[in-house]
């Protein structure tokens, strides 16, 4: 029930707020509660926006060697999982290239 008397003027919000900042919060943060209308936001194709927000920049940042934030366990679980999936697919693809069909060794 506090009033906002001591709160500084808003920065970067209002009508000119960066849409990416807003989407990042309303789509990706906040409390997740399954309502009666079952929409898994992750199924929504447009959430490639989110992927564009996140994945593209992660890859790019990695390319540039900026990855110190990956040490953060809260941050990296999702990234790690995605990375593992990608790596898996990549390894499978390479394996297939290396081993001509029919010659696959049992392991």
């Amino acid at each position: 029930m506090t009033t906002a008397s001591r709160l500084p003027e808003p920065y970067g919000q209002g009508s000119g707020a960066n849409l990416a900042d807003i989407l990042e919060r309303v789509l990706d943060k906040g409390v997740v509660i399954a309502g009666d209308i079952r929409i898994n936001l992750l199924d929504i194709e447009l959430l490639t926006i989110k992927l564009r927000l996140i994945v593209a920049s992660v890859d790019k940042a990695k390319e540039m060697g900026i990855d110190w934030w990956e040490e953060d366990p809260a941050l990296s679980s999702r990234a790690r999982r995605r990375e593992l999936t990608r790596e898996n697919a990549e390894l499978r693809r390479r394996l297939e290239e290396l081993e001509p069909a029919g010659e696959r060794k049992e392991r």
Partner: protein
Amino acid sequence: MSGLRYVYAVCRPFRSALQTQLTGVAAQPPRQLTHHGLIAVYSAVPEADFAEEPLRAHLEDLDWLSETARAHQGVIDALTAVTTPLPLRLATVFRDDSALRTMMEAREEYFRRTLDRLAGRVEWGVKVYVDPRPAAAEAPAGKPASGRDYLRQRRMQTRGQERTWQAAAEFAENLHATLSSFAEDSRLHHPQNSALADGPGQNVLNAAYLVPRGDSEEFVELVDRAKDDTPGMRVELTGPWAAYSFTGEEGEEGEEGEAGTGGEER
């Protein structure tokens, strides 16, 4: 009153009135439903737009999504001015009042605990951008005279850029250390894609800090100071936001969120 219940947030009762002109999603005014001393802030929204099928279709529409996201955030923002709301994710929709009550009852403990933890706090977003172009400008301009010259120029450019990135990473890390030791809690988010940012440069830090309202001015000053003495870096501050990034503590529905860790970053 008919219509589905689109819920924005849960909070404790607040004294100040919300702006009378305030409209939420679907241009509907936010209403309040009280259950066991907690308040759900919701709008009655038409089934034609918010039942599963139409909602799914709408969410694929960037204009609709943007408008809805802004409306959602607008209500959360208005609530943040008068109380500490617990913002729910976009498009949390219930059939009717009774379904909404059932949900509130089931999560009462979590709501109370989290509202206690966040009471009187706001979230500030801080992003650092680095513009790699100055580094590229170090290299001599003009056409390379030979293949070897070309390669040397390329190498110099690359080295210059590496230095810039390294400096940026260091700057971001230091700033984050300073801000997180001032703030009560912090979260590191994935850097945003530069295509979505308003200004130039590559986002190298995208963090959220939980700060008591009373300390906000000081926090903003801290960020402002960092802004001033850093050529080549752009520090962007957004907020005050509702504590979007700090609502997690339970893994809900297998959602890992940013929850679970004690908030210690180092």
